[in-house]
């Protein structure tokens, strides 16, 4: 079984639980005492990930770190439909890579703001929040026009991709860092759609959605 080195409150760990849950891939969680124990910086964990970061997976001896990289791996290895990461579609792969990069920027801003407010990390909070708002503004505009074109998801496809999974968690957790999503109504509609993907699961800080109206 896949082992996930995990911390319950981490949005980057959650995105892997989310994708594996949706794909129906069984996995075992190895809880790391990230806070306050800082076990991810402990000597034994640094042997697994010298960067001292979560998440990490161990798939029968194949060890991989970095949430976005792991999403790519999981979709390629465990999604027979090929829809979550369409390997033969050059444009889609380009778009997905672009939004995975954006997910990292969201982590560097919105997630950092949350770590500052909730867990007392020493970051420049104004800069984190301003950075998150700048990204959310771009995201909202992108999603608004996607809707106008009849697309529900980040990468202009009829089916969600790992890009949606990658960006979702720290967008949803932004208010714990004092980043209101009130100015981003198209983002709100998109997060509701993500919550209605079959197999969706929550984490602390993220609520589920009501069921969609039956047609």
């Amino acid at each position: 079984m896949i082992k996930l080195y995990d911390f319950e409150l981490s949005g980057n760990c959650y995105k892997l639980r989310l994708l594996m849950g949706i794909l129906g891939v069984p996995f075992e969680r190895i809880a790391i005492d990230f806070y306050p124990g800082r076990e991810h910086k402990s000597p034994w964990f640094l042997k697994i990930n010298p960067l001292g970061q979560l998440p990490v997976i161990d798939d029968h001896g194949f060890i991989l770190r970095d949430a976005q990289a792991i999403l790519v791996y999981l979709a390629c290895a465990y999604d027979p439909s090929g829809l979550w990461y369409p390997r033969d579609d050059a444009r889609m792969l380009g778009r997905i890579a672009m939004w995975l990069g954006c997910a990292d920027s969201i982590t560097a801003t919105a997630s950092a703001a949350r770590l500052h407010d909730s867990l007392f990390y020493d970051f420049d909070i104004d800069k984190c929040r301003a950075g998150a708002h700048a990204l959310f503004r771009v995201l909202d505009e992108h999603l608004w026009f996607a809707e106008q074109e009849g697309n529900d998801w980040l990468c202009s496809s009829k089916h969600p991709t790992i890009a949606d999974i990658a960006c979702f968690p720290y967008v949803m957790l932004s208010e714990e860092g004092g980043v209101s999503r009130l100015p981003y109504p198209a983002v709100r509609r998109w997060t509701d759609r993500v919550k209605r993907i079959p197999g969706f699961m929550v984490m602390p800080g993220i609520f589920g959605a009501s069921p969609a109206a039956s047609e």
């Binding site: 503004r137 100015p183 109504p185 509609r189 969609a212 109206a213």
Partner: protein, 230 residues
Amino acid sequence: MSDAEEAIRLWFPVSRCEEIVPRNVVQTELLGQEAALWRDDLGFVNAWENRCPHRGVRLSIGLNTGSELRCQYHGWWYASITGQCTYIPAHPGQKPPNVIKTKRYGCAEQYGFIWINLGDQPDAAAVPVLQLDSYTTMRSVFTQAPVDLVAQSLIEAHNFEPATSAGNYILETTGPGEKSVLLLQPMNAEQTVIHGLIPSLVRDADRLSVLRQFNGRVSEMRDAIERAAA
């Protein structure tokens, strides 16, 4: 114009109608008051104060079931239209007292927008009248600047003028040619939403490019206004 007493009696657009989608709740703010907007499955749009009467939790994080809104904290149900609390899960055998109701705001649909009114006696006949045979609504643009500054720079630097007697809250482009109309939603002392429409129908084939161009122009003005406000 910025007289708060006066403003509270006015109607303001807060969202494009089509963005109040089924089974969703929209969080908005008008004159410092937060509102939760949601559409029931029959199409009725509710505009409520964004606070659960029970313990003050934002209703906008609640669940729209199509006929009622359920609060995320203790799961109380509030019926569409009346705002009446219809179910309290902690006491499932008891009918909730009639006095437990959400605070409702005046709400109207006009020109493709949802308009709300925070006053005690909202009069739907007082929704501003625009001389429009047809219209197409544009993307609403959030602006980090107070409404007075937004209106002032639209008028002084971007060739807009008041379109109605509603003061500087509704502006249109000056001069001949196709007009653009901008409708301002004063969120609070620091933020304004710029809603927009053009007074004509757009052919399907042109729709996306018209929307993109309009959004591009308003976003440029927004950026200039924000630089001035900073």
